[in-house]
């Protein structure tokens, strides 16, 4: 680990590890390995979106014009702020400031929730504009350019998958916060906060990739 | 040369120069395979016997430098196989570049039939007649899923894709009748999506175009459509759906559910195929037949009805069918 920890902050060794250092190293390597697989999952999706863009430039641009750029941009800022609060939570956990850490984590969860609300509103606006081509009962606004349907649908797959990650992330975060509010948490499981923080930053990173690929390059 | 009579055949017929060269390539590769594998097999067997536990074999270290051995058994087989990469690639590139004067035959794959159209306009279903001594380019597309046209006699196959054309070219130099397959799995009747390719002398081919191609193939083509569109699946006797038999239907009187009686003529059959929900039959079960409107092109509907005119039942139908399809199976 990079940062020195305050007194009374640390990790309780699980039975099958030989040392705390080994346990922390395993946890860090594990989360990084997981994040690499997650990144590949999204990369394949973004690659398909880029292939679509190359194969059908006009239809893609026409469809991308319907995306709510400003909601996307606001959401980018919201997630960057949430990464900041998550980093603060990690820092507080290292210093042993448990209450500040719990508050920072709640703020992070709240910002994540705000993102989902804004995203939900964006989906609603798409619905109102007939921009949901996968709904069989509702005619698609850009039906005359079939390939635009492709891009719009990929947008839904990518953003829904991201929203699913974020939703899971918020649920996990609230769970950890609930446990982290208890006395003695930081002396036993400080590394949970570090490991979880990496996952949260990753969710943020995926959106920071998705926003330009879906909203910006096609304008 | 009709395939299918020998119970066991050990080498497939090759009808083009490329096919023969592919055979040489694979024979040569097999020789290399034997050179690389037989020593391993012999060595393992010999060592297993010689160095059995308790045998009096010499087990002193051989003192061979292992890096040298490792590198040689990495590189020598690899370089030997690369010869075959080059040979195979050369043949492949040749088979991918048709000469400009090739005769173009259009091929359309569809669940579960092939339709071929000759440059002079004649078309045939599942079977293909071609002249020898002339480069031929098959221009292939699919109307639904991915299929693949496979002609073992020329050692070639290529996918039939739904969104773009692919090509397959060859120059046959032997007459005869050989298999024609779909080789990309395409659903229920994948294994019957095929027929025969017949290579003919150019004169015979012209003869075929003017006579057989235009006339005799028609009923066979209609039967192929009857099977390909799934009519046979429900309307043949013994099918699970128990739809009314179509044998001898043409020209007969049909009683409808509303009491009228109509004659099953061209126009009525056409309407019934396109709009099965109209003109309910008397005494029939639930109407389950899907509409074929938009699914069957006009010319094929005509061919199908022509077939129904002459169709008198499964056995008789096959006998009346003048194509050699029976010979393949």
């Amino acid at each position: 680990m990079t940062q020195p920890l305050a007194d009374g902050v640390g990790v309780a060794r699980a039975e099958h590890f030989e040392s705390v250092a080994q346990q922390r190293e395993a946890a860090t390597l594990g989360i990084w390995a997981w994040l690499i697989t997650e990144l590949l999952l999204f990369s394949a999706l973004f690659l398909v979106a880029l292939i679509t863009r190359i194969q059908h430039p006009e239809a893609t641009v026409a469809a991308a014009k319907h995306l709510k750029f400003w909601i996307g941009a606001t959401n980018t800022v919201v997630l960057i702020c949430s990464s900041l609060t998550m980093s603060m939570a990690i820092e507080f956990s290292r210093m042993g400031w448990q209450r500040a850490m719990v508050r920072a984590m709640l703020a992070t969860a709240a910002l994540g929730g705000l993102f989902l609300v804004l995203k939900g509103y964006e989906y609603y606006a798409d619905w109102a504009e007939h921009m949901m081509p996968f709904l069989s009962g509702r005619p698609f606004a850009l039906a005359e350019t079939p390939a635009s349907r492709l891009f719009v649908n990929l947008y839904y797959v990518a953003t829904l998958l991201h929203a699913l990650h974020l939703f899971t992330g918020i649920a996990l975060l609230l769970g950890i916060t609930w446990m982290a509010a208890r006395a003695g948490f930081l002396s036993r499981h400080q590394n949970w906060i570090e490991v979880y923080g990496l996952y949260w930053h990753f969710i943020d990173l995926v959106w920071i990739l998705a926003f330009p690929i879906l909203y910006v390059v096609n304008r | 040369m009709t395939p299918g009579h020998d119970s066991l055949q050990l080498w497939p017929a090759a009808v083009s120069a490329t096919a023969s060269e592919t055979d040489w390539l694979i024979l040569a590769f097999t020789v290399l395979t034997l050179l690389l594998t037989v020593p391993v097999f012999v060595a393992i067997t010999y060592f297993a016997l010689r160095y059995r536990e308790g045998s009096e074999a010499d087990r002193s270290p051989s003192g061979i430098r292992s890096n040298l051995i490792e590198i040689s058994w990495m590189l020598i087989p690899f370089l030997l196989t690369l010869i075959f990469f080059v040979w195979g690639a050369r043949l492949y590139v040749h088979s991918k570049n048709p000469p400009p004067d090739a005769m173009v035959v259009e091929a359309i794959g569809r669940q579960w039939m092939w339709k071929f159209q000759h440059p002079t306009g004649q078309s045939e279903i599942n079977n293909l007649h071609l002249p020898i001594g002339q480069p031929i380019r098959l221009h292939i597309i699919s109307q639904d899923v991915i299929h693949a046209l496979y002609l073992p006699a020329v050692r070639l196959q290529v996918a039939a894709l739904p969104d773009r054309y692919t090509d397959l070219w060859f120059k046959a130099d032997k007459t005869g009748t050989y298999h024609l397959y779909c080789s990309e799995y395409c659903g229920t009747d994948h294994s019957v999506m095929g027929g025969e390719v017949t290579f003919m002398n150019p004169g015979d081919y012209q003869e075929w175009l003017t006579h057989a191609g235009a006339q005799q193939g028609k009923v066979a083509a209609g039967r192929a459509l009857y099977e390909a569109y799934g009519c046979a699946g429900c309307h043949e006797p013994g099918s699970p759906v128990k739809a009314p038999s179509l044998a001898g239907l043409y020209g007969s009187a049909v009683t409808l559910a509303d009491g009228r009686t109509v004659t099953a003529d061209d126009a009525w059959l056409r309407e019934k195929i396109l709009n099965p929900n109209g003109d309910r039959l008397a005494g029939a079960g639930k109407q389950v037949m899907p509409s074929f409107a938009g699914r069957i092109p006009a010319d094929e509907l005509g061919t199908l009805i022509d077939f129904l005119k002459s169709y008198s039942g499964p056995a008789a139908g096959k006998a009346a069918d003048a194509t050699p399809a029976g010979a393949t199976r």
Binding site: T37 | W73, V192
Partner: protein, 558 residues
Amino acid sequence: MSASGTIGGTARREPHTPESTIGRKADYLHAESTLRSWFLATDHKRIAILYLVSITGFFVIGALAAGVVRLALVVPNGAIMTNDTYNKAFTIHGVVMVWFFLIPSIPATFGNFLIPLMIGAKDLAFPKLNLTSWYVFMAGALFTLVSVVLGGVDTGWTFYAPLSTAFSNTWVLPALIGVTIVGFSSILTGLNFVVTIHTMRAPGMTWFKLPIFVWAHYATSLIFLLATPVITTALILLIAERAFHIGVFDPAYGGDPVLFQHLFWFYSHPAVYIMVLPGMGVISEIVPAFAQKKLFGYRFVAYASIGLASVTFFVWGHHMFVNGQSDLASLVFSALSFAVAVPSAVKVYNWTATIHKGSLRLDTPMLYAMGYIGLFVLGGLTGLYLATLAINQHIHATYFVVAHFHYIMVGGTVLAFLGGLHFWWPKFTGRMYSEPWGRVSALLIFLGFNVTFFPQFILGYLGMPRRYATYPAEFQLLNVLSSAGATILAAGYIFPMLYLVYSLWFGRRAPANPWNAKGLEWETASPPPTHNFLEAPEVPRIPYDYPIQAQESRDQHG
């Protein structure tokens, strides 16, 4: 290093003599016996047994489906069953065997059981995650079985679009969801192995002291981590395409059906090495043990594992030579595919050289290993036929391909699995199986396998396409021969199931090291105690420290 309570910290101990048996209550099998203690087990050894039982179940399902396929092909005209039944049978065979047997087979059972033992650890790094991955695996299996029970799937295990998305009228969705879920189980297992091998090695267990089995699993785990996410994306898109017609693989909306094949094979070619590499690891343990000689060219074999795992990411296009891919791409993929021969040859020649001047015992595991080497060589070289462009244009999608990959998957992976199962059975269960029955079964399987699949090479070159419910009459003789071979093979599979289960109750008690083999897993009791080692094992000076040492190995490690 702030070590608290390390075992390795107390450094050297006096030479360790393993107990042949430990108190029954102390071994992992008998520590607890409630159902709950099994279904909530976090001990890697118990989870390995959970996997072993489940994948054996899937093997039986897949084998029954194969039996249906071989039965149908006894007659050429499809008189035995309808085309749809046949298509569903080969699809179920492929889906179950690939996704639910071959991929988890060796890693999730032997890997799970042995990696911690071999590196001298108490467990995998994340025991709860390990259990989770088994539950995820079973959840995926449940979806797939539901689709089979409801009426089956007829798309082939490859799920090619647009057949699977727009044309098939069978239960494709549950099967796709099941396969997607199983991918996550692979990812979790791979992640656990990578972290364990990196961080949990006993003091002194450096990378070049690791058994090849561990190297092979490390390489496999990297493939799990780097390739599986791509197939997950492909399958998610396929599910969305089938359920909502999103258009990515549908030409009507400008989508590209061949794109699915690229995404699919980007995973599924590396997946071949997920199935093959662990088998190579098993053989690399068995051969030195039964030759009582150090593995020849240890470092080369270790590097070859990593080499295979790397090259395999660049050859996926060789599955699509005839599918309208550009000629240049085909040339490049063909050339790269030939490069796979290099690390494969390294392994085979090194195993052969290991036997040279050894002291051989031809017990059951060794018979399987020798069968493996022979069949893998044939399977590998016929792979080069398929990589040769001009030959591929003829034998692509024929029975030649079927024969080729069965030589790799059955001749390779299944034989290695059975060899490993017999080799480590005493360690897993504490019992010895019947050696005569083991040898007879190994020979039966080798014979039955060759009679089943060698004729298929000929059928392929004669031009019989694969996945055909009916076929021209001239191919009947070879098909009947193949089906006859399948019955011998089936008998060969049934015997081990019987005598291995019998041995659980009536087998002779196994000593800690029945084969006189090297490796830390043999340093502990059979079956091992819950935390693997009662005292910390001593890591040997060199790996494969057998009595007969090749001169060159001393050069390298001395």
